[in-house]
């Protein structure tokens, strides 16, 4: 099984993300506000933008009604730096506007201070 330490837990604060390398792949490590780690390919599935230049933020959810915003999920959504598509970190990297599309993801585990990606 291929696995690799991609960073230290202290390298990424909750609510932040960072690019790293896993094998030959450019990957994005996200740490949600609850302290958990997630990893995706660092390339938008739309036109290939580098997602680490985007933003981890909240979202207006589908519970919003016309003229009435329902905003939550703070720090759990990646917004692409180009066309702004939103991907749900805690739901397999699925696109909010089209959940059939998702960012390719990697398995993550934390051992001691190490963030480890594996397949």
């Amino acid at each position: 099984m291929k696995e690799q330490v991609v960073c230290k837990t202290s390298d990424i604060q909750p609510g932040e993300m960072k690019e790293s390398i896993f094998g030959k792949q450019n990957v994005l490590i996200c740490r949600t506000p609850d302290g958990n780690f997630y990893a995706f390919m660092n390339q938008c599935v739309h036109q290939g933008a580098p997602l680490d230049k985007g933003m981890m933020c909240g979202a207006n959810t589908s519970q919003s009604e016309p003229g009435n915003y329902h905003h939550c999920r703070k720090g759990e959504i990646i917004r692409c730096p180009w066309h702004g598509r939103e991907f749900d970190i805690k739901n397999e990297g699925r696109m909010l506007a089209n959940p059939e599309k998702k960012l390719p993801s990697f398995k993550v585990r934390v051992e001691d201070e190490n963030v480890i990606l594996y397949k």
Binding site: Q47, A49, K53, P81, W82, H83
Partner: protein
């Protein structure tokens, strides 16, 4: 995976000036108005910004913090060298936009001249791949003609840029601008600024406004055609920048049918509108919808030509189209036309090869 360079004439690249950079190119009192009176062009798009870095790609902000598009070296690294552009056409000046000034034409004309000099100095003379647009304060027709006469013969100026705001440029009053452009082998590029697309008002959401921008482009094309610009100036071409292209067949069918019914009102039109479009009007592909190859091919069939659309990235804006990913996979010959030949054939001043341009030929 190493990217293959794509031979490309990129028909929409936004270089960006910062107001303080214009100062050295401005005479008094206009310099004073900016440096001491802190004049800024008023802009009022009443929306949240479309993306996380405003209207720019977040990764295009210059590493030292300057705004996206403001630094040639960074543009070279991120766009021109990375993609491998043959040529790129600069279409900046959205802010300040001389032709979008309300009143105060003196300031608009001064800004246009300063901008053109800055563009030549800082961009066109510095990178052989880059070609430019003559900015004019077009609402002041005579000043615009004077400016075209002043910089239009620069070997790297390929078009006169007119904004899509609230003036319809086909009106015979503006024809001297087209006459001057044609005289200097310049095409007309039209790019929207803040076009009213909603009965003169703003719709409630940016997504509505941005969806309907093509309607503002359609209005200008219709206006230019039925006002007889293209028969009057047979060597003039018009390129519609950043309105997309999927509406073209509709326009061709609609205008041809209207022409057959209503020719008596516009007897100066000698050819059917679709023929004029095929010969003299081009459309940039960006912002492209996500078409399948089948839909894309069928659209070209409906246009009756694959020579009317030209690829554009719109770098560094948020709705950038990647030359690698924006269009479906096309056959090499068709791809070459859309990415390179159509634009190259459209602009008479773009040379066949980069060696065709010799630095120092500026007549300014």
């Amino acid at each position: 995976m190493a990217k293959q360079p794509i031979p490309l004439v990129d028909t929409d690249i936004h270089e960006r000036v910062q107001y303080r950079e214009l100062l050295e190119y401005l005479d008094e009192p206009f310099r004073h108005y900016i440096s001491n009176c802190h004049w800024l062009q008023e802009k009022h798009m009443p929306y949240t910004q479309p993306s996380i870095a405003g209207v720019d790609r977040a990764d295009a902000i210059v590493p030292d913090g300057r705004p996206a598009g403001s630094d040639l070296a960074f543009m070279q690294e991120q766009l021109l060298d990375d993609v491998g552009h043959e040529f790129g056409i600069l279409t900046g000046a959205l802010d300040p936009s001389p032709s979008s000034m309300h009143g105060w034409h003196e300031m608009a004309a001064a800004l246009a001249s300063a901008y053109n000099n800055w563009q030549i100095d800082k961009w066109l003379d510095k990178d052989e791949r880059l070609y430019g647009s003559v900015h004019v304060a077009a609402q002041d027709r005579d000043e615009a003609v004077t400016e075209i006469e002043r910089v239009g013969s620069h070997p790297k100026m390929v078009q006169v840029l007119l904004p899509i705001d609230d003036i319809m440029w086909g009106d015979p009053y503006y024809h001297p601008i087209f006459e001057a452009a044609e005289k200097h082998n310049l095409m007309i590029g039209m790019h929207h600024n803040e076009p009213p697309i909603y009965y003169g008002k703003w719709p409630r959401y940016f997504i509505e406004w941005h969806t309907l921008i093509p309607t503002a482009h359609m209005k200008q094309v219709t206006n230019m055609i039925f006002n007889g610009v293209f028969d009057k100036f047979p060597n003039l071409g018009l390129i519609m920048i950043e309105g997309g292209f999927t509406f073209i067949p509709h326009m061709m069918w609609k205008m041809d049918q209207q022409y057959r019914d209503l020719r008596h009102e516009v007897p100066w039109l000698k050819r059917k509108p679709s023929d004029i479009m095929k010969k003299q009007i081009r459309f940039c592909t960006q912002p492209s919808e996500e078409l399948s190859k089948k839909d894309f091919t069928s659209l070209l069939e409906q246009m009756g030509t694959d020579e009317m659309i030209c690829f554009a990235t719109d770098y560094p804006h948020w709705d950038y189209d990647s030359p690698y990913r924006a269009l479906p996979n096309l056959d090499p010959e068709l791809k070459k036309k859309i990415f390179y030949e159509n634009a190259k054939n459209f602009y008479p001043k773009i040379p066949n090869t980069r060696e065709g341009y010799h630095e120092g030929t500026s007549c300014l």
